[in-house]
């Protein structure tokens, strides 16, 4: 007995796939080989679906603008912020972050001479590909550059 679902299946056969095949159309046999090929430029990677405006991606921290008020540490639900007392700045662990952007809301920022409005030290970037083997890798820790040099 023909039902509505059967017509639906037939209609679906003629349509394009709904999903975006990211990063490549078919799963590769060897991932390392694929990465090498992409670096040489033999294979093109299918771009991900663009993120909308106002997307909450990886947190970006500008230590120059940070006044050391510690408000972000107070509101952070995941305790992803750490206070660096020697520099009076913060260190942010992206692996703990839950991307709620409360710290961005609460950040007062700093006004450099000649500017009309204060610019926030914290902002949400559009970066979302954050997979890593090491949760303490350089890509996943946002800190002032002096902290790394002095090894604090």
């Amino acid at each position: 007995m023909p039902t509505k679902v059967m017509f639906l299946i037939l209609k679906q056969l003629l349509e394009k796939p709904f999903t975006n095949p990211f990063p490549v159309k078919h799963a590769p046999k060897n991932v390392t080989e694929l990465i090498e090929k992409v670096q040489k430029g033999e294979v093109q990677i299918n771009p991900p679906v663009p993120v909308p405006e106002g997307f909450r991606g990886k947190l970006h921290y500008d230590p120059e603008r940070c006044i050391g008020c510690r408000l972000c540490i107070m509101v952070c639900p995941a305790d992803a912020m750490e206070w660096v007392p020697e520099l009076k700045k913060i260190r942010h662990y992206v692996s703990r972050c839950m991307f709620c952007a409360l710290c961005v809301d609460v950040c007062p920022g700093k006004k450099f001479p000649g500017e009309e409005k204060a610019v926030k030290a914290l902002s949400m970037s559009e970066e979302f590909l954050l997979a890593d083997y090491d949760k303490y890798s350089d890509n996943l820790i946002e800190e002032p550059p002096e902290a790394k040099e002095k090894g604090i």
């Binding site: 039902t3 509505k4 679902v5 909308p52 909450r56 409360l102």
Partner: protein, 408 residues
């Protein structure tokens, strides 16, 4: 004597279940004669964590209670906190919160329709319904910044404003979903296989529903006119005359089975579309936060002494939060009651007498959420006595003392 019954354990970790729970069934042939449901495998102590943090941190912790509905717990939390603090969200924020909550109801109901089709072996339907669900998820990402865990609410308002482009996107999505629900009605409700598979399966009578305190679409499918949005209206629902969707209004008769639940959920999507349309058309102007400064908000909470109970109609049923503020910047007592806790009670009576092949439908038809309902963990001794907090603490101290002596 020959053994006539067999014992089938399902779970806590089982390929058919998405979350840990244990169902122990005794079967005689194909018929189930005895059922026991054991829960408590997903207890994470979230309420205790919340009592150690400040209220803003706890609000975002509450968003992580449930894996699917990431707005129902924060909604109940902010309503309760606003009651306890004696503040009221500005009208624009109330309307925005209602829009987000209704968009989430649409996505949760479509998710359930896909899941029930999948449990029935109708995987084509699963992928088709979930393709339709992408649109509302994209819309939520566009408005709030993420597909799930929207981080949109704040005590005393909402954090993001709706701009002109958002409203245009919402209107597009509404048009899309009016067509999509029409399709779903044809495909789900008039499909002979779907009807044969769900009619008279998981049948809940009005008596059982009242006795077991069932909530949400399950209770409404059994013919009970209950809905928090109708009984205790809050936010923008007070301006809209929301009526509970019950099968006797749609087709004139009540069965209370899985087919009726499907019907109620599909018509609730349409009701949500109506509510969103009203909210978008009558969106008031003004600010969106009662206390825009978070430091001032925490200071107000520190000055407050009081308690409150608040409820929100989540897609699965009513979510109840209890909060007590006692001179700290966060709640000193926080209690959560999730709808799945009541609804899982119906598995016992429904499974007895059912066939083994109906277990997936009975389990899935309430849309169970284990991480919502596991709110307490009880430790028992070998002879079945419960261990209280003082005894457990005593044992803990004894062990610490023992280790300290060994280390010396």
């Amino acid at each position: 004597m020959a053994k006539s019954t067999y014992y089938i354990p399902v779970g806590p970790i089982h390929p058919a279940l998405k979350e840990p729970i244990r169902v122990e069934a005794e079967v005689e042939g194909e018929k189930i004669v005895k059922v026991d449901v054991k829960r408590g495998f997903a207890h994470r102590g979230i309420e205790y964590m919340g009592m150690k943090r400040n209220a803003i941190q706890t609000l975002y912790l509450s968003e992580r209670i449930c894996g699917i509905c990431s707005i129902s717990h924060p909604y109940a939390f902010v309503i309760t906190a606003e009651k306890a603090l004696g503040i009221e969200a500005p009208p624009r924020a109330q309307y925005i919160r209602t829009i987000i909550a209704e968009l989430e109801r649409i996505h949760s109901h479509i998710l359930w329709l896909g899941v029930i089709a999948h449990e029935m072996g109708f995987d084509t339907l699963l992928f088709w319904t979930w393709k339709g669900r992408e649109k509302v998820l994209d819309l939520l990402e566009f408005i709030t910044g993420n597909r799930i865990n929207y981080s949109m609410y704040m005590i005393g308002g909402a954090r993001r404003d709706l701009k002109e482009k958002h409203i245009r996107a919402i209107k597009d999505a509404i048009d899309y979903y009016w067509k999509f629900t029409e399709h779903m009605k044809e495909i789900f409700l008039s499909d002979p296989v779907y009807k044969a598979r769900t009619r008279n399966v998981a049948k809940v009578s009005k008596d059982i529903a009242l006795k077991l305190n069932l909530v949400g679409p399950i209770a409404r499918a059994a013919g009970i006119r209950m809905d928090v949005r109708q009984d205790m209206p809050y936010d923008a629902y007070a301006d809209i005359d929301v009526r509970a969707v019950v099968p006797q209004d749609i087709v004139g008769e009540v069965y209370g089975d899985a087919y009726d639940v499907t019907m109620v959920r599909i018509y609730e999507i349409e009701q949500s579309l109506d509510i969103i349309e009203y909210c978008v058309d009558n969106l008031p102007e003004g600010k969106i936060l009662a206390i825009p400064n978070y430091v001032a908000l925490l200071a107000k909470i520190r000055r407050t002494k009081g308690e409150a109970i608040g409820a929100h109609e989540a897609p699965r049923g009513e979510v109840i939060h209890y909060l007590k503020f006692d001179g700290r910047d966060g709640p000193s007592v926080w209690k959560v009651i999730a709808p799945s806790y009541n609804n899982i009670n119906s598995w016992g009576p429904l499974l007895i007498g059912a066939e083994v092949a109906d277990i997936p439908i009975v389990v899935a038809y309430i849309d169970p959420c284990m991480c919502c309902n596991d709110r307490v963990a009880v430790v028992k001794t070998k002879d079945g006595n419960e261990l209280g907090y003082t005894e457990i603490r005593k044992k803990c101290l004894e062990k610490t003392e023992k280790i300290r002596r060994e280390l010396k």
